[in-house]
Amino acid sequence: MSSVQTTTAAAGGFWRDSGKTGIGSWIFSTDHKRIGLLYLYSVLGFFLVGATLGLLLRLELMTPGRTIMGATTYNALFTVHGVVMIFLFIIPGIPASFGNLVMPIQIGARDVAFPRLNLLSWWLYAIGALVVLTALFTGGGAPDTGWTFYVPFSARTGTNVSVAVFGVFILGFSSILTGINFVTTIHRLRAEGMNWGRLPLFVWSLYATAWVQILATPIIAITLVLVIAERVLGTGLFDPGRGGDPIMFQHLFWIYSHPAVYIMILPAMGVVSEIIPVFSRKPIFGYKMIAFSSIAIAAAGSLVWGHHMYTSGMSDTAVMVFSFLTFIVAIPSAIKVFNWVSTLYRGSISLEAPMLFALSFVLLFSIGGLSGLILGAAATDVHVHDTHFVVGHFHYVMFGGTGFAFFGAAHYWLPKFYGRRYKEKPALIGWALMFVGFNVTYFTMQVLGIRGMPRRYYDYLPEFAPLNMVATVGSWILAAGLIIMIVNLWRGLFWGEPFQGNPWGGATLEWSVPTPPPTENFEEEPVVSHGPYDFKGAGVP
């Protein structure tokens, strides 16, 4: 606690001005900034848990046969790793942490539209997370189904699937409530002059994401209840012996879980669209196209779930339609990449930590997205589906993409909220190690997949051994970078140099309020007279 005291003493703002301290002032606070930080610590904690599990998985795969654990343990670990990373880290991830922290200020509001609903979202998240954790240590033990819970296996296995799935069900409600809150906030609480054309792109991306959260999440909730019913009541909806259909489960699952990848990636694209113009001192290139492509991705992305099922036995007509639509959604993502790169042209570029993370996002996301084209084409997907190629692909998009954007956001916005900053040099070293380690790990995994090594594979044939060794060594470099980055952030934010004003020259509203922002955000109601990337208009150097 003493550490927090020193910070608040030095920093003031919302840390002090309510006069309340202690744990209760956080877990019962309705201030969007406090809720944002609660979320930040929660999701970051689960990221570290998930990353540790991921490193253990890689350690087991270092050599063929048993390295450090048995097959049943491995299967439980990759399931828990997947569930933690997807449902506890990346889906709440950027919207609930940085979205909560920054979005209301960016639109000139004092808080979100429903502050108490916001607190309820966090509580539902905490309860859901507790239920998932309970599942690991009770009953038949940690689920071993993979994060996709495919039937009939998930209906038969003796592990604690029902409880885990119930936890995910609760987490779904947390996500829906955040979505409703954000859509309402963005519609109703924009300050005078903050019209839709002046909305920062981060806000646009949260807006698109929120709609996906509202519309898609109920479907996974129902699907998971059906899995519980299958296990507990023996309803047989997915059991072919009783007129059910296991393929139907996959459709229901992916009708949510494909759009969910946009819940994961869109806010990250929003973060990058904020950082690149500021560190290039140039307006974002193609504001309208980037905003519009977020909406296009959210809408068209709802229609492509079947690309996870080309080999399932689904009809060839369905394969054709889903493959076609999948290629169509690739276009708006490409447009964004071209616009980000063009923003750099003839700017004045400063390569500080947030910018390095943002630029590596563009590169890693491009690699992930381009490898997605291999998966979208029907002929090539058949070969690499369910192999380590897919594992590499989604780590590129989710970790190289969203993960790196998350860390970029942390380096960009957290000093603003803590009033202290991290050291630049360790930040660069941490970033460099992560970037190198990341590529060594996951590019190698993609090669393994093309060579034919299936995913969720505890053991493998000797021909795959050398590359697995390389990938595991890569994961150590990645881990070293992560540790340096986290320690540097932690020490900097609590004990580092004071951080004041607007050193990077951002033109969005959060840079115009005191550091750290007061509980009410603005001393008087702001009136917005310039665009989010109009650096001249905002009067920054």
């Binding site: 012996g241 276009i331 790169v341 042209y345 004045s348 084209l373 084409a377 058949v382 369910d386 034919g452």
Partner: protein, 301 residues
């Protein structure tokens, strides 16, 4: 073999090459532009931005239209390759692949079964993929084919081995503890040898119980030669004293006929010490088959 026949590998690999080449070009372009801009317009060289351009309609149109054409080409190419994978050449030899936790068993038209997939070189093979329990995936990387084995559903793939040899078969769809051990091979042998193999009777007439163990997938987890796999070996079980956990309590039982029958019919009632309680119930096991199996196990010393 019909010389015009396009193999599955030949249908898929050019699509790979095309998409890889296009992706590589794009990636190099994006990376080069980024690196160049970052160096050229670094603040040390460019203290002030020299442009405040907010966009360009022509550029937006260009980089919407060109990728659209490119991805449509990829879609079309990928789809036509997929059609080859789906169109079984006429006259293909049908073989059924049955997946179960955690082994494959192959059934030929004349009723013969085997644990490896024997095929004649040069003849197209249609593999009908079935599952007896959960989802599995029938995957032969060398032929670029994969199809899920779904209980209650008939799926198929086809391939042709143009050269004799041995090719890996993996299970691609996660199916539990020994998913990664659910491996077999395609053994491609000359047509005359294949015909001889197919029609040869059981060698030295082994016990029919062994064939049943193979047919029901028991050998995926249990050996008959004393080596340990996912489950305990079946060699010498009968008449031995087995440490088990029953209803949570450890005890030692004599493996008599009743114990063998119980272990097969209700696998999780008494679980051998040191093994996970994962053995599935064999659904399609008749009383007659069970008798033969138990008889075989009694003699397996």
């Amino acid at each position: 073999m019909d010389n015009q026949l396009l193999t599955t590998t030949q249908a898929v690999d050019p699509v790979f090459l095309f998409i890889f080449a296009a992706c590589l070009l794009l990636l190099i372009g994006i990376t080069a532009a980024m690196v160049w801009f970052v160096i050229r317009y670094h603040r040390s060289r460019a203290p002030e931005p020299t442009s405040q351009a907010e966009g360009s309609l022509w550029l937006e149109i260009a980089w919407t239209a060109l990728p659209t054409l490119l991805v449509l080409a990829m879609f079309y190419y990928g789809w036509s390759g997929y059609l080859t994978l789906r169109s079984v050449p006429p006259g293909a030899l049908p073989i059924t692949a049955v997946g179960r936790m955690w082994s494959w068993s192959f059934q030929y038209q004349n009723g013969k079964t085997s644990a490896k997939l024997y095929v004649p070189v040069g003849k197209p093979i249609q593999v009908n993929v079935e599952s007896r329990d959960v989802l599995h995936g029938f995957y032969i990387p060398a032929f670029r084919i994969k199809r899920d084995a779904v209980p209650g559903m008939k799926n198929h793939v086809w391939f042709v081995a143009t050269r004799p040899g041995s090719y890996d078969i993996f299970c691609s769809q996660y199916c539990g503890t020994s998913h990664s051990g659910m491996i077999s091979t395609v053994e491609a042998i000359p047509a005359d040898k294949f015909a001889a193999w197919l029609n040869e009777g059981p060698k030295g007439a082994p016990h029919p119980g062994l064939a049943l163990l193979e047919k029901h997938g028991c050998l995926g987890c249990h050996s008959v030669d004393g080596s340990q796999k996912v489950g305990p070996t079946l060699k010498g079980v009968f008449g031995s004293k087995v440490p088990v956990t029953r209803g949570g309590k450890p005890s030692v039982v004599l493996a008599d006929e009743a114990y063998l029958r119980e272990s097969i019919l209700a696998p999780t009632a008494a679980v051998v010490e040191g093994f996970p309680p994962i053995m599935p119930v064999t659904a399609d096991l008749s009383e007659a088959d069970l008798k033969v199996i138990v008889d075989y196990l009694k003699g397996l010393k």
